[in-house]
Structure formats: C-alpha cells, structure tokens
C-alpha cells in the first residue's frame, strides 16, 4: 500500500530547561494537502516547524519523511528531503534581481561567469508554473511586499520542494496580495506539493486548508477536516475554552469634534482632510502603501508637513517632533512593535515609563517610588502577564508586549491615540483584550484613529472609516455604509482593477 502520508511526526517532545515546548506530539501530513496549523502564541507551532526544517533537534520522537525515519533533521537534511520554508521575515537580497534571489547560492554558471540568461529563463518558467506574471530581471527592492513574497515562495519551491511550510505568510500583505498568494498555494497543491500553513487569521484557513491541526501549550489537541469544523470551534480548541472572536459593544462616539485635519500634505500623502470626534474609533482602511502609516507619521510629528493644518481641540498644532505631538496630546502605537514600539532590551518598567519620564522625575532625578507605582498600576489594570516589572520586555509574548506599548501611551493621557495595526501577530485571546482596552479608552473620552489591514477588525471596531488610496483620500464611510465591498472599492479606487501591481 502506498503511504498517503508524506510527513509523519511521532511522539515529538522538545524540552527546554524547565519547560516542555512540545509534549509528545504525533501528527501526520498527507501528500498534496494544505494542512493548517493553528494555536495561540507559545502553543508550540514555531518549535514544531523548526523541528521539521531541522533548525532544532527534538528531545525525543521520530520524524518520517516519505517513509524514511529520522531522529532529528538538520537544515541541509531537511532540504535534501524536499522540505522548504517561507519565513515571516523575508530572506531576500534587495539589490539582486528576482531570478538571482531564487538561485542564490546555486547560481547557474558558465565557468566563473553567472549565466543570467539561463537563470532568467528558469525563473520565468517557474513563474509560469506558479501562474504569476513577473519579470525575473527586476530588482527585488523595486517589488511590492506581495511580489517579494512571491519571489520568496518561488525560491522555496525552485529546489523541488515537496513540502512547503508557510509561517504567517499573509501578515505583511494587503487583501489583494493575499488573494494572489492564495492562488499560488492552490497551484502548488494541484502540483502535488504539501503545504503546511500557519496563520492567526482563521478565515484564511477556511479558504485554503483541507485539514487543520490545533496545538495548545505544546500539546497536540486535534486535527479536523476543514468542512467538519467552524471558526468558533477552532478558537475554543486553541484557547481551551469557548471564546468568540467578537467585537465589544460600544457607544462612546459623540458629536464633539476633537481633531480636524485640513488638506494635510507631506511624506507621500496629499491633501487629506477628515475630522475625528470625541470618543470615536475612526478606522483607516486602504492597501499597504496607501499612505496610512505615512499620514500617522505626519500627525505624530515624525515627518515633515508640507501643507495643510492640524487642529486639535480648536488649537492649531504643528508637531515637528514626536516629543511635541505627545505634549499636545497625540500618541502613536506604531505598527512595528519590536522596532518602533518597544526597546526590547529594556525592562517592562523602563518601557512603560519611557514616554512619561519627565512627569515621574523631580529636577531631573527619577522618582523611583512614583515610577514603580505607575508601572504596577498599568501592569495590573492592563493585565500584563510578566514575572516581574524588571523583566526584559523581549521575553514577553506578543500580546503582552503590545499591552506594554498601550500602557506607555495611556500613561501620557493623550486626547488622540493612533493605533497602527494594533493586533498584528497577536493571538486570539490577547486580541480580545486589546479590543476591550480600546473601547475602554474611548469610554474615558479619548479618541482613536485605527489603521488596520485586517478587514474584519476594521469593520468590527470602526465607528466611521476613512479610506485612502495612493496617498490620497478616496472616501469617508459612515457607520452604516461600512461594508467589505465598499472598503475594497474605495481602497482600490484610482487603479484599473483590484490586482497588485509590480
């Protein structure tokens, strides 16, 4: 009998000092299926993937690839057996062409000279197989994130991968780009490649996967055929309790205008006007690169304003530095938590107080007692899970890290909080907490600008919506007008169609 499983993990355990990252996990993957792997942060998904890709050695258990048994794999061994990984962080060299990136390390050569023609031809063939139109000669740095990922995928499958592992592939992509990526996954599946797909976005799993396996706290919970399960059921498996991805009820928006933006230009955006009401959550939709983050930088004093004005509480403000924006009552929870939101090497306390140091100091000297009280107040009110306030923040989970960023800004008592992708890379349980905190913030009379590429979140959390396209305002939607179709239509406006451009 032909074994229909291409990859079998048997009783895989991975021990780290004092903890079981994986506990006796037995799981198999079928030839040519899209198999989704879900679980909260810290559930053991990454450890499992690293076991398969050979990055780590399991403490116990065996891995069987096409019937060949291994106690552990090395990266080379894993590759040789047809396993490839598309990582969350791209591993491309920006200044090289798409084709050069695909064959990096194994350039096709004529003697000492690189045979560009042959490489381009091979790459073009590969793109054709993936049903993608892309010039192999174009430099990777000139591609959109979506196409960069396509190159990354092409690079992975170029070496005859039989098993492709994709770790959160949709995280950096816009809605349209995600759709293009899905098509590639479908194509790969048709060609008999097994895809192991990891994502926090459950709707994607229902779109793509044949089967889905759930991990929780390092243990294997279950595997389901996708048609036999529901989103709510998966979530309850993931968290071990019933939890619905819902958005908290709220009714905090008032008619009082707190922030007025008039014809604002600069930093790649042009002529943007909107107003923000007290207690409102104003959603900002659009494709990646539409200028939403760039607009936030203008409001936060982190980019030069070339035209227009910002009126906050009836007074004109012109922030030249984040320092000035903060002083006038604007704060920003940036999209890149690890590089912009936090100082990973510093402690929970130092991060939480970073924007409030002056207030917690007396004549330049830090008031250690006030600092501790401040920190403890936010650790407990935001339910930040950390062994101690002196723990380095890089050792916290994504959700708890994000709460530290939130606490940092709530501590400055701002009138307007800008959230850029507030729940990116955060697990389901923590997402709910963040949503609830956002509603609590508006309840206390503050207003929120929320930039999000997560359609469901955008629809679920916004009181009104501003849609940008190519650096310009393309529409403002009232609550009752906010539908997925409208958002997509406005977001794509100014383009011929909804597809990604190269």
């Amino acid at each position: 009998m032909v074994n229909k499983n291409i990859l079998e993990l048997e009783k895989i355990t991975k021990l780290y000092p004092g903890v079981k990252a994986l506990d006796n996990v037995t799981l198999s993957f079928r030839r040519g299926e899209v198999h989704a792997l879900v679980g909260e942060n810290g559930a053991g998904k990454s450890t499992l993937i690293k076991t398969i890709s050979g990055a780590i050695e399991p403490t116990a258990g065996t891995i069987a690839v096409e019937g060949k048994h291994f106690e552990s794999l090395t990266p080379t061994l894993s590759r040789e057996n047809g396993i490839a990984v598309v990582y969350q962080e791209f591993t491309l060299v920006p200044v090289l062409s798409a084709a050069e990136n695909i064959f990096l390390g194994e350039f096709i050569r004529k003697g000492l000279i690189c045979d560009r023609k042959a490489m381009n031809a091979r790459a073009a063939q590969l793109f054709k197989m993936l049903k993608i139109e892309l010039d192999p000669n174009v430099k990777v740095e000139d591609l959109t994130t979506g196409y960069q990922q396509i190159v990354e995928i092409a690079k992975a499958v170029a070496k005859d991968a039989k098993i492709l592992i994709m770790d959160e592939p949709s995280a950096p992509l816009t809605t349209n780009e995600v759709e293009a990526m899905f098509n590639i996954v479908d194509t790969l599946k048709e060609r008999g490649v097994t895809v192991i797909y990891i994502s926090h976005r459950l709707e994607e799993i229902f779109r793509l996967a044949d089967r889905v396996s759930v991990l929780r706290d390092g243990t294997y919970i279950t595997t389901k055929n996708i048609e036999d399960t529901t989103k709510d059921e998966l979530i309850s498996y993931m968290v071990g309790r019933t939890l619905k991805e819902t958005y908290p009820e709220r009714n905090n928006s008032t008619d009082e205008v707190i922030l007025e933006v008039k014809n604002l230009s600069g930093n790649g955006v042009e002529n943007i006007s909107f107003d923000l009401k007290k207690g409102e959550i104003l959603g900002f939709g659009g494709l990646v690169g539409a200028g939403r983050t760039e607009l936030a930088a203008l409001l936060f004093g982190n980019a030069r304003i070339t035209g227009g004005e910002i009126i906050l509480k009836g007074k004109k403000v012109d922030p030249r530095l984040p320092e000035e924006a903060i002083a006038s009552g604007i704060s920003l929870v940036p999209e890149d938590r690890k590089n912009q939101g936090l100082i990973l090497d510093m402690t929970v306390k130092e991060n939480l107080t970073a924007a409030s140091m002056k207030r917690l100091s007396n004549k330049g000297f830090v008031n250690a007692k006030a600092e501790k009280e401040f920190t403890n107040q936010y650790v407990s009110s935001l339910n930040i899970k950390t062994p101690s306030i002196d723990q380095k923040v890089k050792n916290l989970s994504g959700g708890n890290q994000q709460k530290v960023v939130l606490g940092k800004w709530m501590g400055t008592d701002p009138d307007v909080m800008i959230f850029d992708e507030p729940t990116r890379g955060i697990d389901v349980g923590a997402k709910q907490e963040i949503y609830k905190l956002m509603v609590d913030i508006t309840k206390s009379g503050k207003s929120i600008i929320m930039i999000s590429s997560d359609m469901e979140e955008l629809l679920g959390m916004s009181d009104r919506m501003v849609i940008l396209s190519k650096g310009r305002l393309s529409g403002i939607l009232e609550k009752e007008e906010c539908t997925q179709e409208k958002v997509l239509k406005y977001a794509a406006e100014g383009k011929d169609d909804g597809t990604i451009e190269s």
């Binding site: 004092g18 903890v19 984040p322 939101g341 936090l342 970073a354 000297f365 830090v366 950390t386």
Partner: protein, 333 residues
C-alpha cells in the same frame, strides 16, 4: 521556574563582576612580580596618572551607551593642552581665564561633533575620525611641534598637589565618577541615553529628543575630556601636541574592558572604573618590569580585542538563553 530565573540572574551578576576579579588577580600578580608595585607612593602615582584616563572614560562611557563613539578625544586633549599652555605662556593670560577658555573651546568641539553626527546622519566613527585629523593638525599649528612650558607655579597644584596625603586629581576623578554614576543611574537623562543606544527609533517615537541628547552626550564627553586634559597639563607642566596622541584608544579599551558595549545601550560607570584601573595598573606594572613601550601596545591591543570578543560572544550566548526563557514565560503565564 522562578528558581531557575534567579539562578540565571546571579550567573549574570558574576559575569558583570568577573572583570573586577581580573583586576584583583592582576593586582596581586604584579605585587609579587613587579618591583616596588605594592607601595603606597607607586599606587598614588598610578592614581595621578589614571585620573585623566578615568575622567575621559566617564564621558566616553556615556557616548558609547548612546551608541556613538568619539575618536577625536585624544587630540581634544592635545589641543586643550597646547591652547591652554599657549594662552598662559605666549598670551600671558591668567591661568583661571586660560582654563575657562580651554574648557569652553573643547566642549564646543564636542558639541560640533554631536551636531554634525545628528544633522548629517554620518556614522560617528567617520565624523570623529575626520575631527581627529583636524584637531591633530590644529594642535601642531598652535605649538609648532614644540613643547610649551613655564607656567605659573599655582597651575601645577591640581595635578601634583595633595590634600591630607591624597592626590587632588584623584579626588577630582572620584567626584566625576560619582556624578557620572548619578547621571546614568538616577536621572531620566541617564535612562534616555540607554534607550537611545538600545533602539533609537523607538526612543524617538517615545517622545525622547534623541538629537538634542546625543549632542549633549558628545558635549559632556568633551567637557570632561577638557578637565582630564587640564589635569594632565598640570601634572606634566608642558603643553605638547603629542600629549593626547592615541589616548582615545586607552579610553575605549578601558570602557570596553569594563563591560561598556561598543554597540550601545549597555554599560555602567562602575564597570568603566574597573576598566580604567586595569589599564592603569597594567601600564604601571609592565613599566616597573621594564617591559618596553611597544610590547605594552601589543598587550593592550590583545586585551581590548579579548574584551570586545568576549562582549559579543556573551551577548550571543545570552540571546540563546533569553529565547529559552521567553518560551518558558510564554508557556507559564
């Protein structure tokens, strides 16, 4: 789990104080093998000699913590030496006035370094390397390559005098170390310096005026350097344009030996002090053993290399431990 975390913590502490043990071991070793090393006069002599190194190291520590470096420090010393000497001898200025002008000038050079680095975004290494050459040339132009001497007698008091048997320069150095430690540990500026060195982008987005603070750090470093330079002039009684040549190397070696990270965000004043004492006693011990200057250079270079390699390797090892810890925390809470 908690016990394990605790164990890691003490392990790290040991690593931090490891260099302190090296200092003690070296001290004991030299006491046995170097003639006249363990002698109160020799020790005060070393103290006088290291005070310039120590004072400069406080400034350099702050600059290094912000993620910068100041290679022009050595020739800041040279220029301060010859300018102050020239003002007193050729300009006939009162020593106090000459000292004030010298301090202002040197601090100004530091601020200029800072402004160029902040405004142009050119790497501090390159900016201060260029400044090094400029200052080298300037100090030669002022002194014409000849020593300037013949100061008022009072000028030698800070560098050579004592109060109750303790060298005045040592007291000044101790005071500056204490002030430096207070700035880094107790004030919010100190916290900001570490934040900038760890992640400048996040620091800026937290409302920290990173530009101003970096300029301040270079200015402060140059200010302290001018104090160190004046004590050197007071001790040697001779302004020479080669006085500070290569001095920045000793200062950076001392800082890095003391655990101040050359890539920013890490380090303490106490560590820098230990580093300074190691460099100072090593030089003195080798001198007493009649080891020649060039051999000393080789030994110093090896020590700096060892310290930097150790710093980088232990950081990488720490990263690995941290990752494991992170998994622990995630799974536990």
């Amino acid at each position: 789990m908690m016990e394990q975390l605790k164990a890691k913590k003490t392990g790290k502490k040991l690593g931090e104080y490891g260099i302190f043990l090296v200092l003690i071991a070296m001290f004991i070793l030299f006491s046995f093998i170097a003639p006249n090393f363990f002698d109160i006069n020799n020790i005060f002599n070393v103290a006088r000699q290291v005070c310039t190194l120590g004072i400069c190291a406080v400034g350099m520590t702050i600059v290094l913590i912000t993620g910068g470096i100041d290679l022009s420090l050595g020739f800041q010393i040279s220029l301060a030496n010859v300018v102050c000497a020239w003002l007193m001898v050729n300009g006939g200025l009162n020593p106090i006035l000459a000292v004030v002008i010298t301090i202002l000038m040197t601090t100004g050079i530091g601020i200029l370094n800072g402004i160029i680095i902040v405004k142009s975004h050119v790497a501090p290494l390159i900016v201060t390397l260029a400044m090094l050459n400029i200052l080298n040339g300037l100090s030669f132009m002022v002194s014409k390559g000849l020593p300037i001497f013949g100061f008022d007698k009072s000028f030698s008091v800070p560098g050579q005098g004592s109060i109750a048997g303790i060298p005045i320069s040592l007291l000044i150095m101790i005071a500056i170390f204490i002030v430096g430690a207070i700035i880094l540990k107790k004030t919010y500026f100190g916290r900001y310096f570490y934040a900038i060195g760890s992640n400048e982008e996040a620091a800026k987005l937290s409302g920290i005026n990173t530009g101003k603070l970096k300029i301040f750090a270079y200015g402060l470093c140059a200010f302290l350097t001018s104090i160190g330079a004046l004590l050197m002039l007071s001790r040697t009684n001779s302004g020479l344009s080669s006085n500070g040549d290569g001095f920045e190397f000793n200062v950076i070696t001392a800082c890095v030996l003391g655990g101040v990270s050359a890539s920013g965000g890490k380090g303490t004043i106490f560590g820098a002090l230990v580093g300074v004492l190691i460099v100072g006693f090593l030089e003195n011990g080798l001198l007493l053993m009649n080891v020649n200057e060039y051999t000393q250079l080789v030994i110093q270079g090896i020590m700096m290399l060892a310290a930097v390699v150790y710093d980088t390797l232990s950081r990488e090892k720490n990263e690995r431990i941290k990752k494991i810890k992170a998994i622990n925390v995630n799974n536990q809470v």
